[in-house]
Symmetry: C2
Subunit: 354 residues, 2 copies
Amino acid sequence: MKNKITKTNKKKKLLEKSNSSTIVLSHGDGGFKTSQLINETIFKYIKNDILKKFEDSAVFNCPAKKIAFTTDSFVIDPIFFPGGDIGKLSVCGTINDLVTSGSRPYALSLSLILEEGFHIEDLKKILKSIQETISEIKNIKIVTGDTKVVGRGLADKIYINTAGLGLIDNDIEISPEKIRNGDIIIINGTIAEHGIVILSQRKEFNFKTNLKSDCAPLNFLIEDMLSVSKEVHAIRDATRGGIARILIELAASSKTDIEIYEKQIPVKKETNIICQFLGMDPLYIANEGKIVAFVAEKDAEKVLGAMRKNKYGKNSQVIGRVLKKGDGKIILNTVIGTKRILDLHYSEQLPRIC
Amino acid sequence: MKNKITKTNKKKKLLEKSNSSTIVLSHGDGGFKTSQLINETIFKYIKNDILKKFEDSAVFNCPAKKIAFTTDSFVIDPIFFPGGDIGKLSVCGTINDLVTSGSRPYALSLSLILEEGFHIEDLKKILKSIQETISEIKNIKIVTGDTKVVGRGLADKIYINTAGLGLIDNDIEISPEKIRNGDIIIINGTIAEHGIVILSQRKEFNFKTNLKSDCAPLNFLIEDMLSVSKEVHAIRDATRGGIARILIELAASSKTDIEIYEKQIPVKKETNIICQFLGMDPLYIANEGKIVAFVAEKDAEKVLGAMRKNKYGKNSQVIGRVLKKGDGKIILNTVIGTKRILDLHYSEQLPRIC
């Protein structure tokens, strides 16, 4: 009899342990376990004056007349990868969208969709990574959040949405509309590493590489660029669809034709070899720490110099220039000396890269 | 031979048709099909000056010194239900979080996570519903968005995140901190309908009811309340966890003890019957168009009058009052004449209600 009780207790304890170490549906029902998850796990990593008020909306001062607002959902697979994880990525992605519009990151939201059975230890790792990235960026807070839970097999571990609010409190205006003939196009380093690393981790591919994702917050890099020039006309971060996609978008929205010198685009040797092996074009492969900037010719050297001094811009290069007003054509001067038009009809077809 | 070609063509056409009517992975890869989905489907319903610039961040004026910021992810099952759908819900949910903080809704973000195979016709219905809800709210725009696609079985059709930005351009401050002894607690109508309706649609339950979700945008209701009184101290919308959860949260954060008169809480007869049958407590069941307000005693009648004139407040009732400074106890005077303490240890255990 005693034995039986012990066994039952053991079973109960095991069950409790498994319940407390993984996400269960009641973590999402708005009751006791939801509060417990927020107070004992999430707030252990992310907490500040505004968040701890636990209100449905964060209320705070807005010391700027113009603001930038952006959102991104992150569904990356795998959630941990060389160079980062879904937590770092979800902060960097939104921060980079804010700073490329010339704004100073000010406030973030964080919304989690968790799959039943997801390990709370993994959630903690992700929250820690979010906290570390926030610290690196400085002067930004997560001010509002949300947590939802879905049943097993209705998500893949964790999806994260971050929305961001930036302040524009100077006279800088960065927008494709400001792109002019003769603008010099600059990139802040080697491309395609994020996409290749994610690919290398997937079951379908599963190859070995020493590459790491370039996932990084670029707020200080862009601050450095803007501190030396008022003629940075447009900046865009080259995520999904690679630098090809954003060049195509920027050329189209600024109604200009541009030319790109393929030879000058920084690509690591290893990236090139893997791309050749897989038959993929690095221009279309995702980055998470790369921007393309359009700068007035007279300031290009100055901006390039400032970029190269920043740790996220050491390998900055001029990769092209704006030719003339046009219909958004992109002429690629290829490494083999030919010319071809870049368009979106070729695509990497790689889902869940961010 | 001709026949063979025709057959192949037919097959190809069928394949194309199926591809064009459902979400495929390449809708999420940042390439041609992503642009096509955004331009030909999403922008057909949701487009404005800011959104059409297609920038990573929306940049706009902020004509207020204080702002409110909130986020919510919606994972509701089913996505269409009597009284609403995930589109209407995702707009109302965020709008209501903004207005309960006393802010005027100003800008929204919209981020979609779509499952491979999801019907584009259903996406269109949801987008139309979003557009209609936006029109009802007035003076608000979706200014920034994001679309991600995950493989089959890695989401349940569609998940939506909305983040919202509200302006606080008056001297009104609505916050649990402002709750005072003697405050009257008011609700704007019958409770628990949203949760019951969602339950009725689930396979595990699948019972018939004439109830509809109360999903509604409450911006004008709250505008009406604030126009007659400067002594509306706190407002909270009673979603997940029902009115019990928000009463518990508000009592705790304002460090007051409150009493609730169960008899005065408006509950439809049908809701009560279903709750009794299922053994559930309507106080813990989700609403999507109900707020609980804490109002200074002297203004309570005035506020109640204003609420009852609004279509979303016709059945408004006083349901309780703040007794004294305390440790957040909630005394429920039950319909059967007893007293009990409300706490979060009871929970409806109903996932994916919003």
